[in-house]
Amino acid sequence: METKQFIIIGIAIALVIAVAAPFLASGDPDGLESAFFSIYEAKPFMGSELDEDAAGAAEEQAIAATGNDFSYEALMPDYSIPGMDKPGEVFAVVIGTLLMLALVFVVAKASARPDN
């Protein structure tokens, strides 16, 4: 396979995953969030019921424990565009994927070993 073909197929696979991810991805808390909710008694360790109120309180408790109340408003929080539902999520992940491609290309080009 030629390099150009290989790269194009790679980009195509990344974009297919990006478009499909918002539809296929599980909305359940990830491993770290689940551990956090279990420790703060908002979710059983091996059960799936999440107590939303306790989860919210747990976040307050964490801030109180660490004193780190830094907050930051991201442009597309949680891979979504506020008020745009699924199309917004697809847009967010696709834009992120293309941004990665461009950013890493530029940074890699600037830091790679010169060939000559």
């Binding site: 296929l24 491993g31 551990a35 004193g67 930051y72 991201a74 992120g96 830091s111």
Partner: protein, 212 residues
Amino acid sequence: MHIPDAFIPMGQALIYWVIALVFIALALRWARRSMGEEKIPLVAVLAAGIFAIQALNIPIPWGTSGHMVGAALAAIVLGSPFAGVFVLTLVLLVQGVIFGDGGITVMGANIVNMGVVGGFVGYYGYAAVKGVIGNAYAAAFIAGWASLFISAILCAVELAIAGTFPLELGLTFMGTYHAVIGLIEGGITAVALYLIASARPDILEHPMGVSA
């Protein structure tokens, strides 16, 4: 496994940033010495693919989900643990700044856990297991699993130091969930390595065996 800002005190978060910056500097030195210009498109595509697949949370038991991290894959394909640091640093930067996934003050800790630990355990785990059992894909699976699991264990220790998780419960919960999520990491690492090796065996930094 992206730690949010609230989970680690500012002072400790700063220390992880310093450690991360040391490894970022070493990763840039690796790139200058060993990442040839012909590798640039591959690195960019790997990073884009890793970003996309990180958005794909796969359900595991207990109302929990997990996703691929990808540092082990980047390290194995590009032939250096620092490739994992290089790619994951940029992935975590975009995730944190644009998408609010993972904190800003604690980004150093996330880079250490996923980029540094993921890259080093992935690369050296792959080399060691491949040396013993000889099969590259089984080695990639085991190295991928171990990279994710050990990242989670380190994360639990950091959160215990932070005062957010009690040590024993944190290790038990993080270890249990990520022992399962590691199967996702190992599986995708092995499949992706197979696809890349099938399409372009020459592109792998060490096609027949990793010389550590």
